[in-house]
């Protein structure tokens, strides 16, 4: 008799194992595992079936007409759609792996609320450390001289008695060591299955620095003159009107900092990042899946993610980065943008000082619109290049496409001609810097720019106009906590 395929029993076993892991090791999120590795199921399935067919061919058995039946394909298509959904959800949102704990404790039971309150004088306190494992916290600096905590503990448990026992184990504590005041919700003391979290509203004096630690929950800090340091596995972070910031998140739906008087350092992974009106240097090492926005950064910014790197000396306008595009308007160089492996279209306008661009894939559109021109060195391996040069500026242009159409709409004194399987547009107008742009494959257009905004929004040159870019610092010197 022909043996039936091993696939069906293996799938049944796999489903059982997944549920077992989910129940025995709740800290491993099965959903996250599925979201991360589901395509391997397809690969494994195909591999097993291949081996089976080769085996029966060798044994001289009758081969099935089709290696994978129609019903199986239907299931595969369903799995692919479902899998793409989970991976997309894993990328985009804080996939609440534990909230979907199927057949675990968390689907059952009820939530019980307990009020939280604490207050302590903050005389001589320079730093406040908040340790809240789960839950959201809002910290607001004010004129008072005390630390006031209000909020509630939320406990999800099977019955009230268990919830009360858990609540009794985790009293809110405000304790002081030297000039540091610790606020702890002590959720780690409860080892049961119940889910605990605390929602906190904290009022504090303005002139302190703050350190927030947590595993899951948002931090919202406003109105503090000191440094803010956030470290969380999964947090939305919103900071406004603070001294300086250091943020480290393993996962985040949004990180936003506005009106910061000192440096900002962001590390980790997340969806969106938004920095606005920052007076100090900005260092970002962030794998993002959503949008990044940088507006009004007075000091240099060093940005790095898994595929791209960017450095600018000052952003007066806005730089926006999405999954497919980088748009920058009104910034000061020397600037450098490098994108590897991913495809990104670049649109840069109204910039001064030198610019360096290196793309693997993506279009480049440059409209410097500022005088005097500075050196530009831009290349893409695949993508269209559009260059809009100011008509009165002095520069020496050399623009090439190795393969693609080319069009000189700037006209004289620039000349164009074929080269390779593409073309070259070159020429010199007056005395000016070298402008080199090239694409290996894609169209090339040089325009005469019309909207010359140099007279409308003059930019004060940075103190060291053509200083070379300093290397990207690994970490910023940590802000002294006084």
């Amino acid at each position: 008799m022909k043996r039936a395929s091993l696939i069906a029993p293996l799938i049944v076993i796999a489903i059982g194992v997944l549920f077992l892991i989910n129940n025995l090791r709740p800290e491993l999120s099965v959903w996250r595992l599925i979201a991360g590795y589901w395509p391997w199921v397809l690969v494994g399935w195909g591999a097993i079936r291949t081996v089976e067919i080769l085996y029966s061919w060798q044994q001289g058995q009758v081969l099935p007409q089709r290696g994978v039946s129609g019903g199986e394909w239907a299931f595969i298509i369903f799995l692919s759609i479902f899998g793409m959904g989970t991976s997309a959800a894993g990328r985009i949102t804080n996939w609440p792996g534990d909230r979907f704990n199927i057949l675990g404790w968390n689907m059952v039971g009820e939530t019980y609320d307990f009020p939280l309150h604490g207050e302590q004088s903050a005389d001589g306190v320079k730093k406040i450390v908040l340790e809240n494992l789960r839950g959201n916290a809002r910290l607001v600096g004010g004129d008072g001289n005390a630390v006031k905590v209000d909020g509630r503990t939320i406990i999800r448990a099977l019955d009230r008695a268990t919830a009360e026992r858990a609540n009794a184990r985790i009293p809110l504590s405000l304790s002081r060591q030297g000039d540091v005041l610790y606020i702890r919700t002590s959720q780690e003391r409860w080892t049961g299955q119940e889910r605990l979290s605390a929602e906190l509203d904290i009022a504090l004096p303005r002139n302190v620095s703050v350190e927030c630690k947590g595993r899951y929950g948002d931090f919202d800090v406003t109105g503090i003159t000191g440094a803010v340091d956030v470290d969380s596995d999964n947090a939305g972070v919103r900071l406004n009107d603070i001294g300086s910031a250091r943020i480290e998140v393993r996962r985040s739906d949004t990180v936003r900092a506005a009106n910061v008087k000192g440096t900002v350092e962001v590390k980790g992974r997340g969806e969106d990042l938004d920095l606005e009106n920052i007076a100090g240097q900005v260092t970002v090492d962030f794998r993002y899946t959503g949008d990044l926005r940088f507006r009004q950064l007075a000091k240099p910014i060093r940005f790095r993610s898994d595929s791209s790197e960017m450095a600018m000396e000052r952003i007066n306008g806005e730089v926006r980065m999405t999954r497919g595009e980088i748009d920058a308007d009104d910034f000061t160089g020397p600037a450098k943008i490098v994108v590897r492996s991913r495809s990104r279209d670049l649109k840069l306008s109204n910039f001064s000082q030198s610019l360096e661009i290196d793309l693997d894939r993506g279009d480049i559109e440059l409209r410097p619109n500022r005088q005097p021109m500075a050196m530009i060195e831009a290349r893409t391996r695949s993508g269209a290049v559009t260059l809009a040069m100011p008509s009165k500026a002095g520069f020496q242009l050399s623009a090439t496409t190795k393969r693609g159409e080319y069009e000189n709409e700037f006209g004289a004194p620039l000349t164009s001609g074929p080269a390779d399987r593409g073309g070259i547009i070159q020429g010199t107008t007056g005395a000016g810097p070298k402008i080199n742009v090239s694409t290996d494959r894609g169209s090339l257009t040089v325009l005469r720019s019309t909207g010359e905004t140099s007279a409308i929004s003059p930019v004060s040159p940075p103190s060291a106009p053509v200083a070379p870019l300093p290397p990207l610092p690994k970490t910023l010197p940590k802000v002294e906590q006084q």
Partner: protein, 63 residues
């Protein structure tokens, strides 16, 4: 039983592996599935080609 049958039977599983690999590439930040799916058509075509070649030259055959 000849090679044409073998290629016909292997087509599905190999397509499945290719599908999985494309999704793995997509997930790990390489090319997105939206741009790589034509590879599946190529694999399908290759197998069709091998099948028809195998029918014209029935080498191998039953062993």
């Amino acid at each position: 039983m000849n090679q044409a049958n073998l290629f016909g039977a292997l087509r599905g599983p190999v397509l499945l592996i290719a599908l999985g690999v494309l999704f793995v590439i997509d997930q790990n930040g390489g090319f997105s599935f939206a741009s790589t799916w034509p590879a599946l058509i190529i694999v399908f075509g290759l197998f069709k080609l091998l099948e028809s070649l195998a029918i014209k030259n029935p080498v191998g055959g039953a062993q």
